[in-house]
Symmetry: D2
Amino acid sequence: MIIILKRGAEEARVQALCAELVGRGLKIHESTGSEARILGLVGDTKSINESWLLANPVVEVVRRVTEPYKKANRKFHPDDTVVEVNGVKIGGGQFAVIAGPCSVESEEQIEEVAAAVKASGAALLRGGAFKPRTSPYSFQGLRADGLELLRHARRATGLPIVTEIMNTEHLPLFEDVDMIQVGARNMQNFELLRRLGQTGKPILLKRGLSATLEELVMSAEYIMAEGNEQVILCERGIRTFETSMRNTLDISAVPMLKKMTHLPVVIDPSHAAGISWMVEPLAAAAVAAGADGLMIEVHNNPACALCDGAQSLTCEQFDALMQKIRPEAEFFGRRLSAG
Amino acid sequence: MIIILKRGAEEARVQALCAELVGRGLKIHESTGSEARILGLVGDTKSINESWLLANPVVEVVRRVTEPYKKANRKFHPDDTVVEVNGVKIGGGQFAVIAGPCSVESEEQIEEVAAAVKASGAALLRGGAFKPRTSPYSFQGLRADGLELLRHARRATGLPIVTEIMNTEHLPLFEDVDMIQVGARNMQNFELLRRLGQTGKPILLKRGLSATLEELVMSAEYIMAEGNEQVILCERGIRTFETSMRNTLDISAVPMLKKMTHLPVVIDPSHAAGISWMVEPLAAAAVAAGADGLMIEVHNNPACALCDGAQSLTCEQFDALMQKIRPEAEFFGRRLSAG
Amino acid sequence: MIIILKRGAEEARVQALCAELVGRGLKIHESTGSEARILGLVGDTKSINESWLLANPVVEVVRRVTEPYKKANRKFHPDDTVVEVNGVKIGGGQFAVIAGPCSVESEEQIEEVAAAVKASGAALLRGGAFKPRTSPYSFQGLRADGLELLRHARRATGLPIVTEIMNTEHLPLFEDVDMIQVGARNMQNFELLRRLGQTGKPILLKRGLSATLEELVMSAEYIMAEGNEQVILCERGIRTFETSMRNTLDISAVPMLKKMTHLPVVIDPSHAAGISWMVEPLAAAAVAAGADGLMIEVHNNPACALCDGAQSLTCEQFDALMQKIRPEAEFFGRRLSAG
Amino acid sequence: MIIILKRGAEEARVQALCAELVGRGLKIHESTGSEARILGLVGDTKSINESWLLANPVVEVVRRVTEPYKKANRKFHPDDTVVEVNGVKIGGGQFAVIAGPCSVESEEQIEEVAAAVKASGAALLRGGAFKPRTSPYSFQGLRADGLELLRHARRATGLPIVTEIMNTEHLPLFEDVDMIQVGARNMQNFELLRRLGQTGKPILLKRGLSATLEELVMSAEYIMAEGNEQVILCERGIRTFETSMRNTLDISAVPMLKKMTHLPVVIDPSHAAGISWMVEPLAAAAVAAGADGLMIEVHNNPACALCDGAQSLTCEQFDALMQKIRPEAEFFGRRLSAG
């Protein structure tokens, strides 16, 4: 951690600050330049709050030199983490496709989609039961009944299930879910993250719409700090000024997250653009950029979907997509996980 | 609601869509231009999902003509809502200053700050007990103990208390809180909003860092749809590309939110910039732009604050601020509420 | 074009507006819904300014139904445009790699880099002579001398040259340049665009840091409206909140621009991230997403580059990149153009 | 300037880097912490390029400690600069209102508006002759004829004139203009800035839609580095995600720019929101935040304006605005400059 002092900072106050820092077990290396006087703090600065330093009247700038995340940090865990979801591996060269409807709507719908995506090569089944919707007047999901329908579909197909949680009070309902998803709007719902860290279940953590990559990793760190290291990061499009699509896929997140962390990185091209015809080129780009998996919305009848139909592929379109993704993944040296 | 059809849309499919819409009780006005064919839907379109329409292969664009919020809409409630928090009025010409530390740290701290801000003219006392922090390694607040200390401070000063909730499971602890705050990161924690709508308590709803004003109003609508119309909207700075301050105060939010809704609008200049010397000019701008109140961070010793010291005013600075705000509010024809 | 009228708009004023629109040769289709009254304008609305309509006190909202660009519009030119730069084809399945240093620094540097990138398979040589720099104290390029060095390098290697123009007054210097580049900061320098439209030369138009795709296409339209249809669009990273890299590559721009327009689309992964190790995964993603070419910074000694060394590949790294890009382009069915 | 070295950086390369830096006249202070090794560079680092350092394989992070602007820097010029435009002072407590139409459209229009805004208390007359328009099919301004009409209006009213330049080739036409405006889209047209720096004329420099404040100041530095210190900075709204208005006024820019620089700061509330009814609250906020002036669009018949009618005030609305701004400016201790 580096502290740049203000010009003309009162010496007595500087000495008092240094004394306090030394009292906290740090060593101080001082440099005086022609334009600035700098304190370099040596030791464990994790407990030193930047805002506390900035509030001191002699301090101009505080810069942290090391990353604020530990458990997720690639520097301390050079090897890729491979997350195993009820037998399906993601990461470390294993590429997994998660597919299914935006929301579970009926037994018929989820069973039909589950069978189709399994046949086309998906490794996991997604489906929303609790739905975060901008409007209180929109369909909010089948909730507990939706979870029950997902379990049926798992029984029928053998595909592990992935579904979103919105509240810690619903945790008992998720005991039998294979991977719990945290949605973009809850990426910084820290109470929820902490509790998921106590479950030991694989967690799919989606990036917030305007979150930086470091914020995403810090949210993963919340889960991991509680002892659960089974975290998959998911980039699903960020908010930009572009109006021709819903969000903008941040493809650079793939190589950067893999450099910052050892966790698997999955891309959701369906939410990224919000337009079904864009799923294929974005999915292809994700594979090329080094992603460990894809999350794709598929609906047996998108024109009747209760939610996000515009971005859903039909079962046939998903099958065509898999016929392109499979050889591409192989071209790039990855192995497709089977459900 | 307006639907623009794709060029060359198959007539049979268009007719099928029209039949379905008519079946849902809507009338359809059709216009055919040289470049586009348009369906205007007449009737109650609140139940019609845009994404459902977009998934239809004949549909190119869907545009909603009317606002998706009803209860918060100024059009249906022309008069200003005045929220009363344990006797203190906010809105409709009553201007209230909410002040206190970012987080409650000790009995001595909160009592000293509470007495000071009351003496300077604050109408409500703020203080964080449950703190949303980006890092799991940062101070997370005194939690239940912090709420207890706030109640003490209320007893000592008579100031109603405002504090943030992070999880529905904590609701029983907040029964005795005068106004419950929803933080920026929880603005779209819809389960929390819904439950707060069932409490009947005044709610201070902070805008998310990258939320549009309509999204903020839709989150208020979640609370109001459950029957609780005591909602105050708070602009606290949005994320922009600027690096010289933490966030960028969106001063335009004040007149625009007051045009969109009938709810009081409060500005938090402390979080907006994250720098104590900027609080005064931003507070002055907020009054001039028509805000109904201010939320200001005050600490008896900012250099020792456990959280956000860099943006906190000292008690003396807050007193000086109030001596400027009071005549300015009067200049602009507003009455300062007393605590 | 659709006009939504204000509630309670005065009838006489509405009639006056309609009369004026009819006088301008438009037909009006009116729809009256339960919540809004709508005028649909039929005819050539290109001359109707949205702001002029919005200034009318009876108008609430104006929505344009058709795209404001004509010459660049894919709807009117379904086939891909293939731009030919001194014999090298870009677009329509022909994939071209443009490579070279950020700025031309010396005869030795540009000759060495030119020979190396040619040997590795680049089809065009880039190099900056006029450099837009944020600071007036930074190296501003060799200017006319740099152009001269580029011509030497072209003579030596046979590679067509691409270089940036910053001012219409420099146009005579660019007469012998094969493709003229418009930088991101000049994307809306409309006087420059117009004059480039009168040259008949291939233009490489870079997207502004915060420009929407429609704005980029409108800038291409400026060039095309003057009669020059040889325009290549270049996505080079947009400004976002991310701090771990300089810009964020908008990979979705590739499929979306190719849907909106018939022009070739090139990706610049060097500027997008500003980090040399990220060039390879981003270039791979660009090929997969359907780009028609790449623009890559290569320097014979990046650690001594006068500009943007951090993002430059060495000649060896560029060679390794080309060995990956070539088979990938073939995998995706594109042919590499040779210089 | 601070350099953080990579973990495990090869010692020979570190020594080579240090030797080179020492050879450039710098001293090096080294600190070795538990987690990082840091070089503090002491001396004149203005000539050291960050990207050059980042390209060195031993360098992880480079941080500049001092601001990159000198001439505009408040630290070296503590007193406010007062810019005088043909006798009208702006800055240092003198508050000036610049008013007039978005574009000059006819002699009758500009004469009528000029007389009206003079009568209401404007100190300078604005009017666009060369108009930057997103579409090549929109009205592009009366160009040289517009400048001529502005000169007529100056003769009639005595108000100094302010108008935008788009190209260095037009400079001869601007010789008789009192203050030359650089538009937001040309904020980083460095060739134009440099040439304006050679004129000695007052320059009104508008902030780019997504420019940081430091970038704006660096553009002022381009002008000042050529010897012209008569620069006024203008905040006119930044691009954000908000859709209910055109841009978002960054009110914080006022206090921050005044801290960074000694230059006057003017607010343009008309372009900021793009909506006429928002001009008044935003103008009031600008005065309260400490702005040195306002730039307001006024049209004698906004519903017929060829450009930006939706944001123009009528002459009557402008008069009403001035009746509010005048006492507010006095309340905040500023003197209104007269034209």
